[in-house]
Symmetry: C2
Subunit: 199 residues, 2 copies
């Protein structure tokens, strides 16, 4: 009673290696590929290989790009004296969606986490420091995540940068817009009170 | 302020065409592809094209296979006198997981649904009838889904098959194993009472 379609199993297997995709979902997705016209599978396969081949890190800011330097670093109308330091290429996307920030970025590709073996030399901190040496940069905005590791990384970098006479700022903590005070945790609420502004 | 990575957008676009995958999930999956070694994207792309190219319908039972006739139809140790008629190739997988059924299958690839323009001639009913003409088949188990369309299809086929002197059965309705009576809907409960067995 063995019913085994090897190419189907292989496809299910590849889908289930994706984060958050279990066996059942992988099966559902694989069947949906088989139900669609063959062009879809072809285009999907092409998109996969092309994305993986063409996308790499911007040689300046380490964000994702398919060019030599990314569109943000290449854009003369952006403010190259302000660098927003983030953990992950996805964070650049989040900032860009906001459409409020006109400076440039630097992606660390992680946070300092000695327990996981991630020491400062594993991050793109050297690359950040070499960008600062030109003297053009006036402000570094530390936009690492509000976690213990994110905080540690922010203060580590700020200790390196401050002696160079560059202003270092950190994103504000507080209650999220549209949030409900009742459900805010005590740490967030305390930080929100601490950072209150006159209106 | 335009930050556009065309190959990434294309990959996100392909992922979000999958059923149940929204924009955010498609982004997350695409980034995970970029984070993994390039071999993963290559193997994934290969699995996609191969699955779509190699898998087609078994010429006998219309289930999915990468062979000429599927492993079930080809297996002489299975009971070829019992055909279980299902709507969808996925249903064959569900039956095979059970490991209790030793007959063969027939996949209709849909159910009769005049409102959606699915008339009996759009389903693989002709193929089923030609399998019955050999006289080898003793029983047809109608295993379409317990929906209005599934029922209608089951009784349509049973009206065609019964005059040929072939036994037609239908899967039992009842409360699901491990279910809770409290949450069973009235129709299921009524059918379950109707179909009660002596113990």
């Amino acid at each position: 009673m063995n019913y085994n379609i090897i190419p189907l199993n292989e496809l299910i297997n590849q889908f289930s290696r994706l984060p958050g995709i279990g066996k059942k979902t992988a099966e559902r997705l694989s069947f949906s590929i088989l139900e669609q016209p063959p062009e879809y599978a072809e285009n999907f396969a092409k998109a996969l290989t092309e994305a993986r081949e063409k996308i790499h890190f911007c040689k300046v800011c380490q964000a994702l790009t398919d060019l030599d330097t990314c569109q943000i670093c290449d854009n003369p109308s952006r403010d190259h004296s302000t660098i927003c330091v983030v953990e992950d290429p996805k964070d650049v996307m989040a900032f860009e969606r906001m459409r409020e920030y006109s400076g440039v970025y630097h992606v660390l590709h992680g946070v300092i986490s000695p327990l996981d073996g991630i020491t400062p030399d594993k991050l793109r901190i050297k690359e950040l420091m070499s960008r600062l040496s030109s003297g053009e940069v006036k402000e570094i905005i530390m936009a690492t995540n509000p976690t213990v590791e994110g905080e540690a990384t922010a203060s580590y970098i700020s200790r390196l940068v401050k002696p160079m006479g560059i202003k270092v700022t950190r994103l504000a903590y507080g209650i999220p817009v549209g949030g409900d005070l009742e459900y805010a945790d005590e740490f967030t609420l305390a930080r929100s009170l601490e950072g209150r502004n006159e209106i």
